[in-house]
Amino acid sequence: MKKLINSPETVLADALTGIEAADPSVRVDHVNRVIYRAAPKVDGKVALVSGGGSGHEPLHGGFVGYGMLDAACAGEVFTSPTPDQMQAATKEVDRGAGVLHIVKNYTGDVMNFEMAAELAAAESGVEVATVVTADDVAVQDSLYTAGRRGVGVTVLLEKIVGAAAEEGRDLAAVKAIADKVAANGRSMGMALTSCTVPAAGKPTFDLPEDQMEIGIGIHGEPGRHREPLASAKDIAAQLVEPILADADFTGDPAIVMLNGMGGSPLIELYLMYGEVAALLEKAGVSVARTLVGNYITSLDMAGCSVTVLKADDEILSLWDAPVETAGLRWGR
């Protein structure tokens, strides 16, 4: 295993030290492993708490700041944070208007956030609402699975809902826009290589030179199926088709993210976006906004994912609103 780390056990603590050193606009609670805005929100505004396992950077810590999150709880690599962390964050960021928990649909994340919400309500009376993202079309949402995974749409949601909270909307309204975004986004991902979890010390799975995994999540788990390695054009089709088959994206403006899994260079991500854009255009999807880069990653995995969000004027104007975080920044 080749990584820029001191030891597998200290990856998270050391990375938090680096984040704090790098970004004066955040503050880190090293005991609870929570990243906060250095300048908290004013009273009366809804606060946003997200969190999850580490290894997906910039998600979520890189999205703490004006226009996005108020706090991000960092779990160990690929392990959701604990209720304590979330409860501490919830109490800390509440400005009297309640707190929205943004949760990706994984058994662990959901259970830990559930316990945190119970604790926060019982102990400190903070009003908590929760949105769960579940946008991964690789997984069938059925009684026979834990439901769809929450992946790329989480990035878009944190931006859009962050803007709504910044505007001063109340908790119900903030939750409503969050639910709308969660309901209207779809994603599909693929891997050229596995990633290596530091504590495991070797790649999570072996992938021969001529094979790829289609329908991966963001935890280095194998995908839904293994396919022969294909051209970018072909891969784009394997990602876009299931998304378009799952929901109708015509007739409304779309926000599209071509996301890298962490180990694929930007030149390849741009190249992939070119293929995706061509397919979307052919399918009559009108792309209004685009994001290309590493936003929700799987450590050092090579690969990418596509997220398409059916938007509307409200969502687009929240998207365009100012944001000032390490991971996304515009308008101020």
Binding site: G75, G108, M111, N112, L143, R149, A199, R224
Partner: protein, 211 residues
């Protein structure tokens, strides 16, 4: 040979489980690499390591306090799916045990049943979903059956451990319907569930503590 489950047994159970999680860390992570996200070994070792630390700092004298400490420590140090699940298990075991320093067979069984019910309340697992529940449920059935046949606690715990191990192995052919292995669909078939494997360690530790 014991007819009562004492706080010393409880300590030795927890300690034995912690040792097993530590020793089997790579094995549990290996299992989780195949159908999960390669962290179950690290999670359990970290959590049970924290439990050891918590118990050495503070030595609870009653079973409810002891198991509550175990459960709370797991909840606050593990994360992931296994943190709330094993955490809830021990919290419920403690609540049902009560402020006593020992339990008879029926009492131990009732506590463990409450723990497993906690797991089901949290995770909604059913039989053959390919989760830790598939090792838990047969372990308790075996424990109860042994006690009903008049077996002592040592015999009952050892029957439970055997059943848990069998339950673990029986997860191999199953297709997962809960947890992150479910995302794999049919590709989850042919692999042992990591949580069922850690549960087998849990009952193995119980059997050793009572032997």
């Amino acid at each position: 040979m014991s007819e009562t489950f004492t706080i010393a047994h409880a300590r030795s159970w927890i300690d034995g489980f912690a040792s097993r999680c530590d020793e089997q860390k790579a094995y549990l992570t290996e299992l989780d690499s195949a159908i999960g996200d390669a962290d179950h070994g690290a999670n359990m070792a970290r959590g049970m390591g924290a439990v050891r630390g918590a118990l050495s700092a503070d030595e609870p004298q009653a079973l409810d306090a002891l198991f509550k400490a175990v459960g709370m420590t797991l909840v606050s140090s593990v994360g992931g799916a296994s943190g709330p699940l094993y955490g809830t298990f021990f919290l419920r075991v403690g609540m049902t045990s009560g402020a006593v320093d020992s339990l008879d067979g029926a009492g131990l069984s009732a506590s463990l049943h409450a723990g497993v019910k906690g797991i089901v309340d949290r995770g909604k697992a059913e039989a053959e979903d390919k989760t830790m529940f598939d090792a838990m449920a047969p372990a308790l059935d075996a424990l109860d059956a042994s006690l009903a046949e008049g077996g002592d606690l040592a015999a009952a715990a050892s029957a439970a451990a055997e059943a848990a191990a069998a339950g673990r192995d029986a997860t191999e052919p199953l297709q997962a319907r809960k947890g992150r292995a479910s995302y794999l669909g049919e590709r989850s078939i042919g692999h042992i569930d990591p949580g069922a494997a850690s549960t087998a360690l849990l009952f193995d530790a119980l059997a050793e503590a009572l032997s």
